[in-house]
Structure formats: C-alpha cells, structure tokens
C-alpha cells in the first residue's frame, strides 16, 4: 500500500519549501502552535489504542510488539501531533536557512537529495524500521531515503561530512537515543558544529513511536531547539517503491521558481499553492 502519490508528494514538498522558506536539515520554521511538552502530553494522554487502531490491528492480526525496545515495522507519520516547528533563535548575523542556502535548496530537492532529514512528519509517507542488534535501518517510502543508525559503536571523531551524516544509537531505559553528526548543507557548507539528538520511544500502548528531535549548533543558534512528532503503528502497510528520479525531467526552474510540467503538459508554479 502506498501512503501517498509520488508526484503529488514531491510537488507538495516543493510548494512547502517555496512558500514558507522552509529549509533543510535544520529546518526550523515560522510558527509554533504546540510546545514539545504539550505534544508529549497529547501523546501520552491515552494509554489504550484508539478504535481505529484496534480495528486495524484486528484486521491484520498484528498488534504492536509488547517489547518497548522493538521498533520493527511500519510507522506512518501522524499529523495530529506537532505539525509546526519552532523558530530557531539565530545568532546575530546568521542568515535564516532558506537565505543561507539560496538556490542550492531547490536544486537539492529537484535532484532527489535529502532536503528533509529527521522530519518524518513532513513527508506524510511511511517509514519501515528494520532493527537488528548492530543496526537500525530506517527506510522511508518517500524517495527511497535510507538512514543507517549504528547501534554497536560510538560516533566517529572525524566523520566525512555528508548530506545524511553519521548516526549512532544507544538505549536510555526504553528510549533509543540517536545522535547524528557529520552533516553538511546542500550548498556544501559543512555543519561541523551541528549535532542532532533524537529520542525515540513507544507510547500510547506502543501504538505510536514518539520522536523528540533536538538541534544544537552553538555557532548558529542561541540555544538548542526541540520538536516532537510521532509515527503511528501501521502493520497493514507495506511500503511501496517510490522513485523520485522519475520526475527529474518534469521540473524546470525559471526566474527562481520551480515549475512542474505534468504528463498533460500543463505547467504549475510551485509557489501558487
């Protein structure tokens, strides 16, 4: 089952970036309606599955694993929680991400490179967690995006900077703490001071995987900032093949705007929506 159309999704992603000036990796946006603690409270408000979850699990006979440290399976980003992000408090003289990145942002998105990282809720498409003793592999349906989280080692001292960074995880009780360093921006800027810390735990009777994501970069931000989102247990979904590269030739960038030409030849400006 595919959780969203490939083209629609890519288009939505571009629109989102175009209109709000959202940025990459650290993407920290305009407004903030739910604080991290409010989102966490909302997530833990109910300890039993909703009627919808219960029905779905009855149909596929697969309740979530009772093991709090077993994240295996498909998680679908639930937009009920923390749809908006805090604004990063930037140090004086630091440009907001969209300005700092300039054209490299659209360039990166159109070329199917990861513009959104650590932000499953942005995609609306499912993620498959494949968890072994030494590695947690997170396979996003969207753009066949891969994350490899090493569970058997410490962070390297000098990781080769990349768009995906280097991630290691360890357990703090039943919370998996994933730390990521070695990131760079799409324009090539190495973010050697950026450290992303994610805390993942199962909540609401294991029906949700809660992500608390903290970005810390003392060279850019006045203070670290945090947001929360959640994936919903979806044993009824098998992630589909989603090939972003199919659309590459349909996009054109003209006068700074991304234009998308669909199969019928009609052209839609990304920032009209």
């Amino acid at each position: 089952m595919n959780s969203s159309g490939n083209r629609d999704n890519r288009h939505a992603q571009l629109c989102r970036f175009e209109t709000a000036g959202y940025s990459v990796i650290a993407l920290m946006l305009a407004t903030w309606s739910v604080t991290p603690s409010e989102a966490a409270t909302a997530l833990s408000a109910s300890s039993s599955p909703s009627a919808e979850d219960a029905f779905r699990q009855q149909v596929v006979s697969t309740p979530p694993s009772a093991d709090p440290r077993d994240f295996n399976g498909v998680w679908w980003p639930d937009r009920s929680f923390a749809q908006q992000r805090p604004t990063a408090k930037l140090k004086p003289g630091v440009l907001p991400p969209a300005q700092q990145l300039g054209p490299s942002l659209n360039n990166s998105i159109v070329k199917c490179m990861p513009a959104i990282r650590f932000d499953g809720i942005g995609s609306g498409m499912s993620e498959l967690y494949v968890q072994g003793p030494a590695m947690l592999t997170i396979i996003a349906e969207e753009d066949h995006d891969i994350r490899q989280v090493y569970l058997d080692r410490a962070l390297p001292k000098k990781p080769k900077p990349s768009l995906t960074g280097y991630s290691v995880g360890h357990w703090d009780g039943d919370t998996l703490v994933i730390e990521t360093v070695g990131l760079k921006d799409p324009n090539g800027t190495v973010r050697s001071s950026l450290r992303v810390t994610e805390r993942l735990r199962k909540v609401r009777d294991a029906n949700y995987l809660e992500h608390t994501v903290t970005f810390d970069d003392p060279t850019r931000y006045i203070e670290p900032y945090t947001f929360v989102w959640a994936g919903r247990w979806r044993p009824d979904i098998r992630i589909a093949e989603n090939i972003c590269e199919e659309e590459y030739e349909d996009y054109k960038v003209e006068n700074g705007s991304v234009k998308y030409s669909d199969d019928n030849g009609s052209v839609d400006k990304g920032n009209d929506k």
């Binding site: 089952m1 498959l128 592999t137 891969i146 080692r153 768009l163 995906t164 098998r238 093949e241 590459y248």
Partner: protein, 238 residues
Amino acid sequence: MTKTKIVIAVVLIVVRIGLPSYAQAAATVSDAAHPDLSGVWQIEAAPKALRTLDGSAPPLLPQAQTTYSEYLSAKKARDASYDTMSKCLPPGVPRIFLQPFPFRIQQQSNLIAMIFQWNHLDRLIYLDTAHFEAVAPAYLGQSVGKWEGGTLIVDNTDFNDQTLLDDSGLPHSDALHIVERYVLKNAGKTLEIRFTIEDPQTFSKPWETVLHFKRQSLDVRDDDFCLGRIGKEPMNLQ
C-alpha cells in the same frame, strides 16, 4: 590471568566499545536452516553481459534479439537514451547486483532488507507472506522468500519493463519472473546467488546464471545521490 580479571577485562571492553545494552534477539534468526546472510557484499567479477550456466548467450526470441542489437549499437555510438539507469532510475534485478558498489543485507525473521549504496536503493524480501496485490509494477519487482535446506529462495514478480537485465542492455518485458537462490560459501566469505530468469515474451525458455559476491569489511554509505553525481550544472540559474 585469574577468572575475575578476565571477567573485569571483558566488562571493560564491552563498556569501552559501547555495545548495545540490549539486543533484539527475536528480530534475527540464524541456524543451519536459516544461515545469516547479513553483512556487506560486493560483486566479485561483474560480467559485461550475463551468460547462461554453460557460458552461452541467453536464449533471446527474434524480436528481443533485434531490440538487444539496437541497444548494443546505441551503446557503441555512446547513445545511452535507451538506458533508464543513465537517468538515475533503478537498475532492475539482477543488474543492481552488477554495479561496483557494496550493498548490505540485514536479515530479520520476517523480512530481509537490502540496502544498495548505488543511489541509496532499498529492496525488501518478505518472508512472512505470499505474493500480494502490487500498487504498480516496480523497477525492483515484488520479492517473497522462503528457506529450504539452508538456501534462501526468492520469488520475484511484478516487474515493470523499464529496466535492463545487465549493463550490456539485455532487455526484458513486464512478464519477467525471476527466482533467486542464495547460499553462503567459502566459510561465509562468499555469497552465491543463482538466478532463474523466465520471460516468455523475451526468451524462448527459462535460463540460469550465477553471480558471486565477496564479504566486505567496510560500511555501506547512505549518501550516494545519483542525480547529484551526474548533473553538475545547477538547475536554478537565477
């Protein structure tokens, strides 16, 4: 060294290298009937063109032979327009295995995940289901597997017709059906995959080919983005 000292040393080593305090043992199975294929692998000697087990050319039907000849001519003339992989679309099966990049197998009890470094592609082999209705035909098809006497047998269907079987341009149709047999050899240092390729619209009969992969000590990187590699020109020239 006394027993106590050994225990302390082991504990210190474990603490130092930061082994996970808990392993998801339930997620992984490994015994004689289910050998653990997990690890990083790379093709030992990639053939330029696939051959059958006795070294013959695959039994192409006349129409497919014509198509193949056209592709060979185009390739000679440096025209890659027939080849979707040149546009960063996924190479199909078995072509994905022929690339000079490593891939990682992560074996679980209910599925086997393959992570290919080439354009960070993933391929999933489900062990807990029969074939199911596909959303759409796929570049990498739909894969379901089962274990038989220590061999992983994978049945692949639902391919689209947008890929080629090898780098030489060997074509196929969307009627392609591939059965793969995975076995470990050479004390686990070599992975052998034997492919049975069947496509009544392309080949006069099913044929077999075999590939060998060497276990690698390096990791698979997840930061290879094909369009970023091949398209150096900036798209946004404002």
